[in-house]
Amino acid sequence: MLTINIDNVPVKVEEGTTILEAAQKIGIEIPTLCHHDDLCIAGNCRVCVVEEKGKNTLTASCATPVIEGMKILTHSAKVQTSRKHIVELLLSEHDEKCTKCYKNGNCELQDLASKYTVGDYLFMDLCEGKEYKIDDSSPAIQFDPSKCVKCQRCVRTCSEIQGVNVITVAEKGKDMHIQTFMGLPLNNVPCTNCGQCVNHCPTGALTERMYYDEIWEAMGDDSKHVIVNTAPSVRVALGEMLGYPTGTRVTGKMAAALRQIGADSVLDTDFTADLTIIEEGHELLQRLKKALVDKEDVSLPMITSCSPGWIKYIEHMFPYQLAHLSTCKSPQQMFGALAKTYYAEKMHLDPKDIVSVSIMPCSAKKFEANRPEMHSSGYQDIDAGLTTRELGHMIKQSGINFLDLEPQPFDSLMGESSGAGVIFGATGGVMEAALRTAYEVVTGRQVPFDNLEILPVRGTDGIKEASIKIEGSLPEWNFLEGVELKVAVSHGLKNARIIMKQIEAGESPYHFIEIMACPGGCIGGGGQPIPTNAEIRKKRIESIYEEDRNMTLRKSHENSEVKKIYDDFLKEPLGEKSHKLLHTSYTKRNKF
């Protein structure tokens, strides 16, 4: 332990602690901008400089480890002047149009400005006369360079969390800026649309593409039937934007708010999550049977396909391994395909009048909804994928008093869900849900875990492993008797790369792998409320598992609406209709 002195308060910290962390420990807040808990230290923006006694220059507190006996002043006159200057400098190269900005009210630069630079502009406007081109080529993410403050958080995110590296720092000096390879539009580079750059951007430079105006229009159009499906991780995060503490579940209020702002039917993506489990579970068992009994050459391990960021990633980076992907569509796209077929049929609606909207924790869902193959209903299956943030924004626009809203249930027909569907939102959740069902299908018994909680696949380790030995299998599945089913779970595309390299080398020991693009799974998705960090993600995860625990229905195959859809419509898992509506194929894309 080292003792240092910050603003005349002694503090004991471990070696390797930064000055910033030491200050936080005693409740002293030092402003930061380029710093992010999820990312490596950059020390670029210099907003966090502090005065170190005995040194002429100031010290970047985020980047400097403490030294025994150090004396630090966090708000001396020298520090205050520098900090003010630095924020003014950032503002001078930031084309501020706060009142017109999506991030107005949730912008770190704005917060800094309100603290340190009240009054007239000190310096000249560097944006004047410059031509900025907004890149809105991607259906998911848009980049407005005029709002970029070059903190490089997006660059580090894309590289460190995702290992995708499509955003880089280009040129130097006054010309230094953030861009893609040769400045190509975002939809022409191997961007996965995961949106983590958006989640980590302190300003409004990187945002999702927003589509809520079109939804308002559809909701106001009486000839349109707007049905909304909400993903499991939205309900544990939306509240953060509307006055609730992190991790508060607002499921019922969310449904009520959606109804109030004009949705004709508020349904649950968890329903198709349950359906995914049935389809994907059977697909896995079928692949195992082909491999073990028929000795066919099938691709194992099989990998989940719920996360559209992950799908785009594998299409770009490992185009020759696509056969490992489950052919199941994601719950969003299953929902879309059924909305304009099954739902339309049951509700006596003309599918052309249905506007199918999904509320997702994700920006990649926007791209997914726009994929040309996602037209199996004969129409675009999902008309718009909005992020949690966009929904939060719409609720704010509507003037609804969310805090006082009376919770309401989801509508029926594709509104029922199990706890298994809910936990899709957390890393490991799809795996856990699949095991709950598959094990029971094969053995007729519940998974051998206390209270159905498969703890080895839970938690925030980048890659998790588990194995279940299948014993006492039903006659139909006796080829699995004694098989040790090996599974793995990863989140964050950097970890996906490790898993895929193993597969590429033919060394993967697993049968089934869950991969999610974003850290923590969907609860940490690129469309979730900002800010994000490990602690916030942990709270959302806890909240998801609590929702599961409180449900009576906790296995996908017990979902009565799921049973009904097989009886009435799909007939059987992996059947002809399923094939047409619920399964898909993938596209080889360029890595570079």
Partner: protein, 394 residues
């Protein structure tokens, strides 16, 4: 010599003895700690301009744990007005290699790299020939040390040692956060000594003549000698080895054209000295930034009264706008503001009082920039603006 105390030497460029690596072979036999002690006692500081104690750098690298270590010769001589390293490399490269070899044997490195700026690519061929000779010689001396050349690609900031290392690692030449320092965590994460070309030669010199002799050089309390690159309004531009501690007046008397109005000491990142201060400003390494003595990599640019100091400053700021790496705010944005600011004042778009704001901004850049580049922009800016205010405004 009564009035002018300038003393010329000719040690660095003195021709080799008949057996060029004889001195090295003798030095290699000396006790390593004794050599470090000698270097520290000599007070020899880095000749690139930053002025870190060379002996201490070597000592720290020697003490750093690691089975692989590197010796890097910084030949990214980009400071405007400096060209002495080029002269050294073309005239006495063996002295550089000897210094590097000595350093390597002390810290326990067997790999040396010369980071040669792209602008000096024409030196590569001859240098490689010399390296081959050196390596043959090293074999005879049973010295496990090889040298290779790494070419720069055009970036002033790569003269900063951590930026240089980043560049060698195949990345953008952006300075790193310090600590850790290269002596502990340098090239490829290994302990690394990065020294300027001249520093290796001077270190070799100190080891050969001893700290005591070395310290006999120097005037006005300064110790040692170094190379100066003289250019600008002078009839005698070139590289000169002079004893430290001389006054700017000494330089002007010797090299000026009779009409000198200002001298830029230490390149664009150094200080501009106006005529009225020529006699009281000495050049050496002991003073602080604004003290009497100016530290320098040896760049001396002389301006006569026909020069507009506004143009001079404008040229400097233009340089920094392009050559800042751009990663940290005070440097990237600050220097653009300084440039735009003086233009606006000149064009009457800003009141002359705005100059005060800019001077304060320069202070912020000095204390809060990430590396020496950003920190030193204030040196020339403030010294010119304060001494030649009228020229800047009108």
């Amino acid at each position: 010599m009564s009035k002018n105390s300038l003393k010329r030497l000719d040690i660095i460029f003195a021709p080799y003895s008949t057996s060029p690596y004889k001195l090295l072979s003798e030095l290699l036999k000396k006790d390593k700690d004794a050599i470090i002690q000698e270097l520290i006692e000599s007070g020899l500081k880095g000749r690139g301009g930053a002025g870190f104690l060379t002996g201490l750098k070597w000592k720290l690298a020697k003490e750093a744990k690691g089975n692989e270590k590197y010796v890097i010769c910084n030949a990214d001589e980009g400071e405007p007005g400096t060209f002495k390293d080029r002269e050294i490399l073309s005239q006495v490269p063996r002295k550089v290699f000897s210094g590097m070899a000595l350093c390597a044997s002390i810290i326990g490195a067997n790999k040396g790299i010369i980071y040669l700026r792209a602008e000096y690519n024409f030196l590569k061929k001859d240098l490689q020939k010399e390296i081959n000779i050196f390596e043959a010689e090293a074999k005879k001396l049973n010295l496990d040390f090889s040298i290779e050349i790494f070419s720069g690609s055009g970036a002033y900031v790569c003269g900063e040692e951590t930026a240089l290392i980043e560049s060698m690692e195949g990345k953008r030449g952006e300075p790193r956060n310090k600590p850790p320092f290269p002596v502990v965590n340098g090239y490829l994460g290994k302990p690394t000594v990065v020294n300027n070309v001249e520093t290796f030669v001077s270190a070799r010199m100190v080891c050969s003549i001893g700290a005591k002799e070395f310290n006999k050089f120097g005037i006005h309390g300064q110790k040692g000698s170094k190379l100066f690159s003289i250019s600008g309004d002078t009839p005698k531009g070139g590289v000169y080895e002079l004893e430290l501690g001389l006054t700017v007046q000494d330089l002007v008397d010797e090299f000026g054209d009779g009409d000198t109005k200002a001298v830029q000491v230490g390149g664009v990142s150094g200080f501009c000295v106006p005529r009225k201060s020529f006699a009281k400003r000495t050049i050496g390494f002991t003073g602080k930034f604004t003290g009497d003595s100016l530290p320098t990599g040896g760049s001396i640019m002389i301006f006569n009264s026909s020069r507009s100091m506004y143009n001079v400053l404008h040229n400097y700021l233009d340089f920094f706008c392009e050559e800042s790496c751009g990663q940290c705010t005070p440097c990237r944005v600050g220097v653009q503001q300084l440039l735009l600011g003086i233009e606006a004042i000149k064009a009457n778009n800003k009141p002359s009082s705005y100059l005060k704001t800019l001077v304060k901004l320069a202070d912020t850049m000095r204390v809060s920039s990430k590396c020496g580049l950003g920190q030193s922009i204030a040196n020339s800016f403030q010294s010119i603006v304060e001494e030649f205010t009228e020229e800047i405004i009108y």
